[in-house]
Symmetry: C2
Subunit: 746 residues, 2 copies
């Protein structure tokens, strides 16, 4: 029973302690540690005995079974047209089970062997979740029909007719969310008799934004329709001054998605008993939607090489991703921020937590614990790429979910940021939030979870230094408004965007803004407070809408605000960049000297030819132009930056037909290769939430100038507004999309 050898009293010198055998540490044994295993799986269940005797029978044995109440049948009333699903807003779930929401009554019909006698008969409806049910943990809940005998869930008899009792059941508004098994138990003098376990009587209980006592209560029907019920969304990308849209099929009601979401929690080994708390559920899910640490749902890849998976730009919806994860139990390849945010959104809406995807333009990413973004120039004003580390993402998507925050002081409930994109230093793990948007706006970044991190994403300074030859550094410019330039989300009930920057920040220059920044600094947010004198020459870069493959002229305007002539030794650099701000290839480098008269301005034109950038384009076709320089007369440095997102060609999507439920319609997708070169390995996807299953076609070659047309028949199953949308994606051209709206009549 011990590792010591059989020596009698032999001395061994100080020897190293044995490491764990076989290269992996043995699993921590729970013997001696826990009196019972901790349930972390909703799919594992325990059988509850059909008979529980109270004790030894009396001297004459058990009394005869006659006349005791017995259960003949239980009707879960789970058809979509029955009141349970309608009143609980769960008719859209493609599921054979009863799905209801907590904090709100639902009903079942119990058929007994004889009429129920309220004064004599005792029965209970029992709910059990997980493998080690216990009443004190809320994993075993008996519900009684009588007022004077209530457990945490309320029960009442709504109607009695012959042998049938209609019972109303109200799960408590903070109960565990997941799949419960249901039993009916009757009490007989010799013990408890209950129904056999029957999967068809299982009940899914979800979060309830319609119930005032639920932590996710959202008192706005329009928002609830958008943030819980809407299956189609728009995710914004591009640049703050040139916004692009991406349609997404969240598919939270599709067959198998709810089970996949519960599986995500099971795979995370999250204790069952924590699953009623939206704070814990969303925090855990922010870790599980990405595969880091925990073999979660999606593998991140920003490299441009997606050989072993699906390019992040190619996805049109979440269903495929979640169902693949559920069936293979392995992370799915590949995601970037909007894919994480979209799948997370599906997870949240599916479980009933109101949520939306938001996009932050110029999002600072705290790579390594330094909340400022430093750009280092050399003595002449040229960017020193070796010493400039941090990147600002052109945009970044995360989620907001709605809940109260009983763990925080008053005032921090409401929308909470959660982010499933694997960041580098969110408390040392790949997860983020929930962080109160109110706390971020007011600089109260001392509250959990990760509020300081999100604050930096929308508030960081961009600090420019000039590095002298002897290694000393000089601060030359602080840009306090670049980061967090705009935060957008889809407007509720409309197909337009809503600017929610005000939710995150007070207006620039207000006293509130100053107070917030000072408060954040007290909580350790590092900001640059000195204000180096500005150069008296400004460089203005234009906002341009350019198509991929276009040649264009870039006009830089140099404005002299002084009363003297100014001569600027200029560096004009153009690079292809990833949307993460990381540079890929510098395709333009010029060093003109520009002379500007007092109070005058000069325009310097640079011709950009597509042949110079086309072959280096990565991913989302962003070009980053940096103009820096040194004023000869004053030695001051001037800087300016601009990201231009090239516009992709569009897919034409057309829908024809009557748009009536169960009548066939036709969708047509058209694309013309606008380039002279051939596109290879082209993947086209079509998706129509509620009307069409997701479909995919592969085209090995699309020669320059040629067109493809893809026609698909479909039959809408459901009335209402929706869209049919398509994406085209190949290594040479990513993120091409198009969509058409339809309004299906009943």
């Amino acid at each position: 029973m011990s590792t010591v050898s059989d020596q009698s009293g032999a001395t061994s010198a100080p020897s190293p302690a044995p490491p764990a055998p076989l290269g992996r540490p043995p699993k921590l044994s729970s013997r001696g540690r826990f009196s019972a295993p901790i349930g972390t799986s909703n799919s594992e269940t325990t059988d509850i005995p059909e008979l529980e005797y109270f004790g030894a029978p009396g001297p004459r044995g058990y009394p005869p079974l006659t006349d005791f109440l017995d259960i003949w049948d239980v009707d879960m009333m789970k058809r979509p047209d029955e009141s349970n699903k309608i009143e609980h807003h769960t008719t859209l779930y493609h599921s054979d089970y009863l799905i209801v929401r907590r904090g709100q009554e639902f009903e079942i019909k119990i058929t007994f062997n004889r009429p129920y006698k309220p004064n004599e008969d005792k029965f209970a409806v029992e709910f059990v979740i997980g493998s080690s049910p216990a009443i004190s943990k809320g994993t075993y809940v008996p519900v009684f029909p009588k007022k004077e005998k209530q457990s945490s869930w309320r029960g009442r008899i709504k109607e009695t007719s012959d042998n049938i009792v209609t019972m109303g059941l109200t799960p408590i508004a903070d109960c565990i969310v997941g799949k419960y098994n249901m039993y009916v138990a009757v009490q007989t003098p010799f013990g408890t008799r209950r129904t056999r376990k029957d999967d068809s009587r299982a009940v899914y209980i979800l979060f309830n934004p319609w119930a005032a006592d639920d932590a996710v209560f959202l008192d706005d029907e329009k928002e609830r329709q958008e943030c819980v019920m809407n299956e189609v969304g728009i995710i914004y990308h591009g640049a703050y001054d040139d916004i692009s849209e991406r349609d997404w099929n969240y598919g939270q009601f599709n067959f198998g998605v709810l089970d996949a979401c519960l599986l995500v929690m099971d795979r995370s080994e999250m204790p069952i008993t924590n699953r009623g708390d939206p704070i814990k559920v969303t925090r855990k899910a922010s870790a599980m939607i990405n595969s880091r640490d925990d073999d979660g749902v999606l593998v991140g890849n920003w490299s441009g090489d997606y050989t072993y998976g699906v390019a992040p730009t190619s996805w049109t919806g979440s269903t495929d991703i979640l169902l693949t994860y559920a069936s293979t139990k392995m992370p799915v390849c590949y995601a970037q921020c909007w894919v994480y945010a979209a799948v997370f959104n599906t997870f949240l809406r599916c479980l009933g937590i109101p949520s939306r995807v938001v996009t932050n333009y110029f999002s600072a990413h705290d790579n390594d614990g330094n909340l400022r973004t430093d750009i280092i120039l050399d003595e002449n004003g040229r960017v020193d790429r070796n010493r400039t580390r941090d990147s600002i993402w052109n945009y970044h998507c995360w989620n907001e979910c709605y809940m109260s925050r009983p763990d925080l002081p008053q005032g921090f409930g409401g929308w909470q940021v959660v982010d499933a994109t694997p960041q580098e230093t969110s408390d040392g793990m790949y997860r983020c939030g929930p962080a109160s948007v109110q706390a971020i706006k007011h600089g109260d970044i001392c509250y959990p979870f990760d509020a300081a991190f999100v604050f930096a994403e929308v508030n960081s300074d961009v600090v420019y230094y000039s590095r002298k030859k002897d290694g000393t550094m000089q601060l030359i410019k602080v840009n306090r408004t670049h980061v967090g330039r705009m935060v957008l989300t889809k407007a509720a009930g409309e197909v337009t965007r809503r600017d929610i920057t005000d939710n995150y920040k007070f207006s620039e220059g207000t006293s509130e803004e100053r107070t917030v920044l000072e408060k954040a600094e007290e909580y350790g947010c590092k900001r640059e407070n000195s204000n180096p004198p500005l150069a008296d020459v400004d460089v203005i870069l234009p906002t341009l809408e350019i198509g991929v493959g276009d040649d264009f002229e870039l006009n830089l305007e140099f404005v002299n605000r002084s009363d003297q002539r100014r001569t600027v030794g200029t560096y004009i650099s153009g690079s292809v960049v990833y949307y993460t701000g990381v540079s890929s290839h510098e395709f333009l480098f010029r060093t003109p000297t520009v002379t500007i008269q007092p109070q005058g301005s000069v325009t310097e034109s640079v011709m950009i030819e597509s042949k110079n950038y086309m072959h280096h384009l990565v991913e989302q076709a962003n070009l980053n132009f940096i103009v820096t320089g040194k004023i000869k007369e004053t030695g001051k440095i001037v800087t300016s930056m601009k990201v231009i997102t090239l516009h992709n060609p569009k897919l034409l999507v057309e829908v024809t037909g009557n748009a009536i439920v169960n009548e066939e319609m036709i969708a047509r997708v058209e694309f013309t290769n606008p380039f002279t070169h051939t596109l290879k390995d082209v993947e086209v996807r079509m998706d129509g939430p509620g009307v069409m299953e997701h479909k995919k076609r592969l085209y090995s070659l699309i020669p320059g100038g040629t067109s493809l047309t893809w026609t698909e028949m479909f039959t809408p199953q459901r009335a209402g507004k929706t869209r049919v949308f398509a994406t085209l994606d190949c290594p040479g051209l990513r993120q091409v999309s198009g969509q058409a709206s339809i309004n299906v009549k009943p």
Copy 2:
């Protein structure tokens, strides 16, 4: 470049997305995501070039090298008797390197090829840490000798004599903690020339509790001597009314321990740039000291079976554990809470963060998100073991470390709880803290990290329910004082304990206590607020000091506080329990009926014979007695619990000799097996911090009644007070120890 097959326009039906190949998700690629890799290793370094040219040479080529300043030698002044180590309190480290603390000046001597001319010559001392040094990240720091040219670290010339310059260097008080490489660079007209990389010139920079600007500043020399410098400690265990002690050799200055602590951070992949922040360092370390999630230092095992490792009770110090982890890079077997706390303490003291091990008696452990501990009795008052889940640990050890908390509002700095024992639900990961002790005391549990969790460990209610036959539950008793009964730590500078319960809680019954509990409830701490009427009969269990193997009488006193006769149907249960409160074996069960006269009392005696419990004893020999019952006249339930820790036989440790440095002494350990049975596979360890290396002997058999004597020669190398202590451990008898104090004269 894509997975799509070579079909031309063939349709494929909605197909599942490809999962990650080969069963494991591919590593997230950083291309397109980061402009430079993020340094997470202190052992990886980059070479800095010896020559950095400024540009192309002039028309006549490079100027001749004559008369330019050149570096001949650098003296790190790292001998223990030189001022650097003395003034930085680092003389005790067994290390060949210079070890200093941040925020405090140290000096080096640079020998040039000729006298240094302050007005002409330019040089810098450069410090580099990690593999991607950057000035803006604090991973590359040049230090200049001139006032007008300072970087974040200050430099000055303290003395010049001939060619030798003595330079004073002051690392900024929040710099990164770890091992830096040092270079001296001189500027020549054609570029920078610097010393070659030389490991002997590496500098370890530690946290500095003596520096007012350091976040770990502790303004109390006695506490600093204890919590940073003391290598020997006492860890308390047993029961609050029968306290036992365990000596521990922290060994934070032993050879290799500092490198092992840096390796722990490297293995955690903690970004180098975070390693100056004691909040992040301690939080990360609380995760890394245990092996869960991250292949950290110690594997937990509470099972009683330690076949493949060392029994937790057997260790006498941290050094073996840390050095084994450093050499094998695999988790070490096995630990329980005090081993985690002790090794964590070594880590913290070694890096210079003041820390101490504390013991909380009756520590509530939140197994699954329910902050109350529920005990369920049946209708007759007998404990229903199937339905009673939670356990209260007899004691639990964690660490306190001292630091400011700039991330929180004022008033939460000072001692912070960190806990490396793998808990179940500390934010879903196996780590805990830093949680401000002040925040815990005042119920401000909304602040990070894990304050609510620690609050529950010292403040939970024990709630007793009675479960009726029909499944309904009735609250019968709430004990609000059992949990967190006492918190102890070793007193600074003394070999006694200090009761620090007041640091965690206001006195019971005060208005402050009520306010705190109400505040905690607002932050989601669940408490039981109803006060069921108490039974009018009390059961009092005695405090006993019993040796392992003794027979003894347990006298239960039943006190009737009413004016009527009372009859109690009693259940007396005695179980062997782990120190985690988990029951192993019930060895006693009696059901006497006790009758007590009005206002009278009755003593019920139960004889406990060792033969009944001896063969079932686990681990730390705890017996748990539970007395419950129902008063026949009133139907009320009475309950009482008591844990008795049986006392083990002692080891006799004797030290003889003159106790003078470098003079040989003799340590003698004696043990007599007091039992009639043979002890097998006995491991005896001897340890003497500062005077003797850790030693171990194995005895395969010690027959009942026989003795062993182990004599060991040793030669103290260092003056001062210390202790020699020994442990004896075998599967049949754990946690036997003894110690002797010595005061070595110089």
